[in-house]
């Protein structure tokens, strides 16, 4: 089972977990990741963060990443929620929640989905700082995090 949502509104981590576990008593492990807006990035204060995306591609990209995770690990349920629009520090940006029988699968698949989302899902962040607006630069470390999953599969 897979739930993918792109939305302006906030989400509730507890409600997402409750929806997932109510449906399936085979679930023994749920690993989650939530990304938050920080008030400082690359040394500058951040007052708002605006998320733009490429709607026609976003759902396709996220669906592909989740399908790949389901092919690699034994998963029971996956939920991905990504917000778009204007956010503020401490706001929630993204949720990846993965349910499985045992924790190893849940942890690995959750981190895999985040690493691929960070490099392959068409979202872009623009920060508003005291020095003006600026587009967030992609991080080399995200490319590395994503590439290690390729290495693992090849070896």
């Amino acid at each position: 089972m897979t739930t993918i949502r792109i939305q302006n509104q906030d989400f509730d981590l507890g409600a997402e977990l409750n929806a997932m576990r109510a449906g399936n008593a085979k679930i023994g492990a749920v690993a989650s990741f939530v990304g938050l807006v920080r008030d400082v990035n690359d040394g500058a204060g951040v007052s708002t963060l605006t998320l733009e995306h490429y709607p026609a591609m976003t759902r396709k990209a996220l669906g592909g990443i989740v399908d790949e995770a389901c092919a690699r690990w034994e998963l029971i349920d996956v939920t991905v929620i990504h917000r778009v629009g204007e956010l503020r520090p401490t706001d929630q940006i993204v949720l990846v929640m993965v349910a499985s029988r045992h924790r190893g699968d849940a942890f690995q698949a959750c981190e895999f989905v985040m690493d691929y989302l960070k490099t392959q899902a068409p979202f872009w962040k623009k920060e508003s700082t005291p020095q003006g607006e600026r587009w967030v630069e992609a991080r080399e470390s995200d490319e590395l995090a994503s590439s290690r999953w390729r290495v693992e599969q090849d070896s």
Binding site: Y54, H82, K118
Partner: protein, 84 residues
């Protein structure tokens, strides 16, 4: 051969353009499209120079320079993604 080209994020702002229809000689691939855009000079040759980082998707899937283009394709050009 006509294709749609979409621009996102910093590239959209830099070019002052969200999308356009572009006519390319057949056969064409992504590198031919990029070459045509670079030929415009200014921000185009600057942002799409080989030393700058950008990504391209064809019909909503990440593509490479040698990905073939067909009539009616939707090509998107954007900076490396920064979501999550």
């Amino acid at each position: 051969m006509m294709v749609s080209v979409l621009y996102f994020a910093s590239l959209r702002e830099l070019f002052g353009l969200e999308n356009e229809q572009l006519v390319l000689p057949v056969p064409a691939d992504v590198s031919a499209l990029i070459a045509a855009l670079r030929a415009r000079g200014g921000a185009w040759s600057d942002a799409l120079g080989t030393d700058r980082r950008w990504r391209v998707a064809v019909n909503q899937e990440l593509a490479t320079m040698d990905t073939k283009l067909n009539v009616g394709d939707e090509v998107a050009i954007f900076p490396p993604v920064t979501g999550g």
